[in-house]
């Protein structure tokens, strides 16, 4: 079941997605998290952030919308407090998810996190608004994605993956821009922009009005984008979006993913990743798959 992401060997391709697993140690209250391939930790910024006002979450058919707003304790507290707690219970490679509102912020955070033991992959979340670019998300233009990747690439010593937003017209152009700028891999998809209205109060359910839609409903969109990007790029792709089962993991890998992140499913079922990993061997046997690496991008 093992896979390799830019030289980093994972025992299996299953990675809890950023924002759905905290810094891991909280989930160790449910099961031994060393069964996981890796963990992508909660999106971390330079400064501590409280995030958006409440309510931050809304129910949807086969999914949910969240507008947490990147609440996190800030890079220094993550390095000093969260990572030691994470390493105390988790001995596998860690994916460090880094966010920023300016190129300087990305660079500063990555410079710090790249030195950390057990952080084997850095995952840049480029879905946040660029405060110097009129608030438009870094991830919505090939030029700004390339710019942030080039800047960060100069300071990191670990493989750099870029987590892309699906809220764009041409995902392939953006993925290729990241690849040409030196990214070692692509992760997609982040959440899709969505909204719910409480028809009784005639107001948006979420205080921030809009938020990121995730869950089983977005799976076909994720499979499509993973397929398009993996065909267009040479660098590995981590597939993410609506994965809930071992069958979904295999489908995502057939679309072109080398590893697979599981997000919202953890929030309903804290054992989701464990159950998926445990179900993978039987699903592989049922489909006549000897090694998972044999099916990556087979479609």
């Amino acid at each position: 079941m093992s896979v390799v992401l830019s030289g980093v060997k994972l025992d299996n391709p299953v990675i809890p997605a950023s924002g759905c697993f905290g810094y891991g140690y909280g989930m160790a209250e449910f099961y031994d998290i060393n069964i996981l391939g890796s963990i992508s930790f909660k999106g971390t910024t330079r400064e501590a952030r409280y995030g958006n006002p409440l309510p931050r979450v809304a129910e949807c058919s086969a999914g949910m919308i969240n507008a947490v707003g990147l609440q996190n304790p800030g890079i220094d507290a993550v390095v000093a407090e969260e990572l030691p707690k994470m390493r105390a219970v988790f001995r596998k490679p860690i994916v460090a998810n880094i966010s920023g509102f300016s190129i300087d912020e990305y660079v500063e955070c990555c410079e710090k996190i790249t030195k950390e033991e057990q952080v084997e992959i850095i995952e840049l979340n480029v879905s946040c608004p660029n405060v110097h670019g009129g608030g438009m998300s870094f991830g919505t233009s090939p030029e700004s994605v390339a710019e942030v990747v080039r800047a960060v690439k100069k300071v990191v010593t670990k493989p750099l993956y870029v987590k892309l937003t699906p809220n764009v017209t041409d995902i392939v152009a953006i993925a290729k821009a990241a690849e040409e700028a030196g990214a070692d891999g692509i992760c997609l998809i982040n959440t899709m922009l969505g909204m719910r209205i409480d028809t009784r109060t005639r107001k948006p359910v979420i205080a921030n009005k809009m938020g990121g839609f995730s869950g089983a409903a977005v799976f076909p969109v994720a499979v499509r984008m993973v397929y398009q990007v993996s065909k267009a790029c040479k660098i590995p792709v981590i597939g993410c979006g609506g994965v809930e089962s071992a069958a979904d993991v295999i489908e995502m890998m057939m679309a072109g993913a080398t590893a697979v992140e599981v997000g919202a499913a953890n929030l309903r079922n804290p054992y989701a990743c464990k159950e998926i990993i445990e179900a993978l061997p039987a699903e592989m046997e049922r489909l006549g798959i000897e090694k998972l690496t044999d099916i990556i991008g087979i479609v």
Binding site: E29, F30, Y50, L54, P55, R56, V57, N269
Partner: protein, 247 residues
């Protein structure tokens, strides 16, 4: 520690037009104090529904809940024998051993729920609380009879004055001239704000918010406190009066 397990509905009945009492049987060993909650998975709904524990013993959990949306409506229609997937052991509940001799238990609407087991715990250690419950109208009044059966004083306030004191729980405190040394409260935010601002007694309140996970990883229910951001599902739902910031 947390526990996910299957629980069987043994009864599910209406206490009023909108409030239900569901009793479930199953493993309760991870519930360790009054004021904790369970997160209920409902078929066809993506997110679980966080519901306060009204009461529990070695093998059963009682939930008092309002039917407010599709999820709780589905719960209200569940028959005896229905098997539910619950997460238990969630949240930091009330301090059952708070330094007090005569505490007030103040509930607003369905916020009466977590106070019931608390009243039992307090009685068990020889502390006799006074319970005051606030509702909109006489038709909404629930659980007063159950508190009375415990042998505690239990007063009711209604906004329209159709039963009990007209007004809010604070009006009962004033009218009866109640002298307490501590308070425990659960109810809508405006009520909790009013209590924390007006009562001189030390106390603690249980907050209610939309949640996703219920076990502290998604950050959907964080509240700013005097000691930084806290998760209502993990460090809460109960916070001391001093810890909360009322704007």
């Amino acid at each position: 520690m947390y526990k996910r397990d299957k629980y069987t509905v043994v009864s599910n009945r209406a206490l009023s037009a909108k409030t239900m009492l569901m009793v479930l049987e199953g493993d309760t060993q991870y519930i360790d104090c009054a004021g904790q909650f369970v997160n209920v998975a409902i078929e066809g709904k993506f997110l679980r529904r966080p519901i306060s524990i009204f009461d529990y013993d070695e093998k059963s959990i009682s939930l008092v809940y309002d039917v407010v949306g599709e999820g709780t409506k589905a719960m209200s229609q569940m028959e005896e024998g229905t098997v539910l997937d619950l997460l238990t052991g969630l949240g930091n509940g009330f301090s059952e051993d708070a330094d007090c001799q005569h505490p007030a238990l103040l509930g607003g609407g369905v916020g009466c729920a977590p106070l019931y087991n608390l009243a039992k715990k307090l009685l068990a250690r020889g502390v006799k609380p006074v319970v005051i419950l606030g509702f909109n109208s006489a038709a909404d009044v629930v659980t007063q009879d159950m508190f009375l059966q415990l042998g505690v004083e239990c007063y009711v306030a209604t906004v329209d004055g159709s039963v009990g004191t007209k007004g809010f729980v604070t009006d009962v405190i004033r009218e009866k001239g109640l002298e307490c040394d501590y308070f425990y409260a659960c109810g809508p935010m405006p009520m909790l704000r009013a209590l924390c601002k007006s009562l001189e007694w030390p106390g603690e309140v249980s907050l209610d918010e939309r949640m996703a996970c219920g076990f502290g990883v998604c950050m959907c229910c964080s509240v700013e406190t005097r000691s930084g951001a806290k998760r209502i599902c993990k460090e809460g739902p109960v916070f001391s009066k001093e810890e909360l910031i009322w704007k």
